[in-house]
């Protein structure tokens, strides 16, 4: 029978404001999940350990936590696999990151739900409801299949680097739900959604650290959804108002005119108003040779690229 030490983050605000760690030694069966192990500890050793859980089947999304620093769904994570991956018989268990702890492994998810609600995570069709149901082809539903798998476990928020730097960032799961509906052919609010998700703390704030794709236990690939929302913004003509969108536009202009990125174009294109105020820094960059010629950097066979830019159709 395997034995494991669980080094658990404890926070019991009723008795102390200071979090502490507590080790629990546990003998358990070969194929025990982290959730089952924690419940066994709760049952046999310390009934006061607080954690959220419900379905035990990776459906409800309640039991996300960190195992040795990596965010997991406790009910999906096998104890023996964690030990093998990390080469240790001790597993550190912590609440998910980027949220305030409430008690032990339970965090305050209110900001998560507020952000989720803020993206209008429901279908808003145009016009009157039809007499019968709205039929959608399999192909059309496949466009939003990944995003439909989200179980709102918040694992993608736990290590999001943008969220760590800006607590107001609306975040990966909410934006994935945004695309779930912006990409649904029955929805009539694509343009409004593109506007809603753009702007400060919105889709252009994603720093592409890829933690969300790495940690999502359901294959939602939230970063990919954010990318698709950018595509929706461009298709709906909502691509000038935000500096992030203008930054992306500078790449398109660069590639169309020369094939390579024109770095010197990026700053004034992204921040046309504030760029001149940054002249001292620009001078430093010029002095260090870090401001290349603003003329297009022409590749060979640019005609191929121009043809592609004109003819490739987008489907987001």
């Amino acid at each position: 029978m395997p034995a494991t030490t669980f080094d658990v983050f404890r926070y019991q605000p009723d008795s102390s404001d200071t979090p502490y760690r507590q080790e629990f030694a546990l003998d358990h069966s070969d194929k025990v999940t982290l959730l089952d192990a924690l419940l066994q500890i709760q049952d046999e050793q310390d009934g006061s350990i607080a954690m959220r859980y419900s379905c035990r089947s990776a459906i409800c999304g309640s039991c996300s936590c960190k195992a040795n620093g990596r965010t997991v769904l406790a009910c999906m994570a096998q104890v023996e696999e964690i030990k093998e991956a990390d080469g240790s018989d001790t597993i550190q268990v912590d609440p998910i990151g980027n949220f305030a702890p409430v008690k032990d492994l339970i965090v305050d998810l209110d900001p998560f739900w507020e952000k989720f609600r803020s993206v209008k995570p429901y279908l808003i069709p145009d016009g009157k409801a039809p007499e019968k149901e709205r039929i959608v082809s399999k192909e059309a539903m496949n466009k939003v299949y990944n995003e439909s798998k989200c179980i709102l476990c918040a694992a993608c928020y736990s290590e999001c680097n943008s969220l760590a730097a800006d607590p107001d960032f609306v975040g990966p799961a909410a934006l994935a739900w945004g695309y779930r509906f912006a990409g649904d052919e029955r929805d009539g609010q694509r343009k409004q959604r593109a506007k809603l998700y753009s702007g400060e703390h919105g889709l252009w704030d994603c720093t592409r650290c890829m933690y969300c794709n790495e940690r999502c236990p359901k294959g939602v690939e939230p970063r990919d959804a954010i990318e698709k929302l950018g595509g929706v913004a461009f298709r709906e003509g909502v691509s000038w108002g935000d500096a992030g969108a203008r930054h992306a536009r500078a790449f398109l202009v660069s590639v169309r005119t020369g094939g390579k990125l024109n770095e010197t174009l990026l700053v004034p294109f992204t921040n046309p108003v504030t760029a001149p105020l940054d002249a001292p820094f620009a001078l430093q960059m010029i002095r260090k040779g870090k401001a290349p010629s603003p003329l297009p950097h022409r590749i060979k066979k640019l005609n191929e690229v121009k043809h592609l830019m004109k003819n490739v159709k987008e489907e987001v």
């Binding site: 680097n161 943008s162 536009r249 700053v267 592609l308 490739v312």
Partner: protein, 295 residues
Amino acid sequence: MAKQFAYYPGCVAEFSSKELNATTQALAPMLDIELLPMPAATCCGAGDIAEAKPNLYLTLNVRILSQAEEMGVDVLTICNVCTLNLRRANKMVKEDPRLLEKVNEELVAAGARPYEGTKEVTHMLWYLAGEEGMSALEARGPRGLNGLRVAPYYGCQLLRPSSVMGFEDPDKPQSMERLITALGGEVADYEGKSKCCGFPILLAREETAFKESHVALAGARDARADVMVTPCPLCHLAMDAYQRKAEASNGEEYNMPVLHLPQLLGLALGLDNDIMDFGRHMVSPEQALATAGLV
């Protein structure tokens, strides 16, 4: 015989961070690598084109892969972001023949060569930290780094998503540690080595980006690193070119010289300093390197 690659330096190494390109080109023959130019390759889009026009991103990147296929060699990159964009496109079309067919129709209509899905994309770090690279390094008998204390900084897009990158455990990367140790350096370990440098949003969300770069810069500083080293020129811009601005924004002092990975190898192999051109760095590494007797 030298190992041949289709060399895809990426835009930043070709223009604003020329010292990286020059160092890589000078280093390659020393390590038995032949870099074949790709004169018709575009920008990979850096995630920005993917964020504006996803199908265009895919088509442009497959066009680059097809050029390497025509040359009969795999692609070698020196930038995290190029690596992710090219590898992701490669994975998408290799796993979905119908998608490849669709992309090829676009390429052929534009007069470009269709892609058969036979090539791979490797970052120089991966090649060097692998068996072939390590034995080429060993054969060269590096003069060493004289115990220089180096903080490896991986950034994000060479590690994650692991389903696309897959070279090493994204949570416990060791490739740069292996190289630093093999070259006679000392590893300064710290938690922020695989966190984001903030560069993708630096121009659009400067303050947020600086809070991100703070995590790694402060981590390397607190680990008493002499220098930080990175395999990505975009991370280098965020960490070096914008470091003084980050200090002002965060109310911190880092004073952390940041080397491009090929510069670290160049130092260990005795490459000419004029080629590595440390004068182009915003935070000068000269003093740290002089103290270690490397310049």
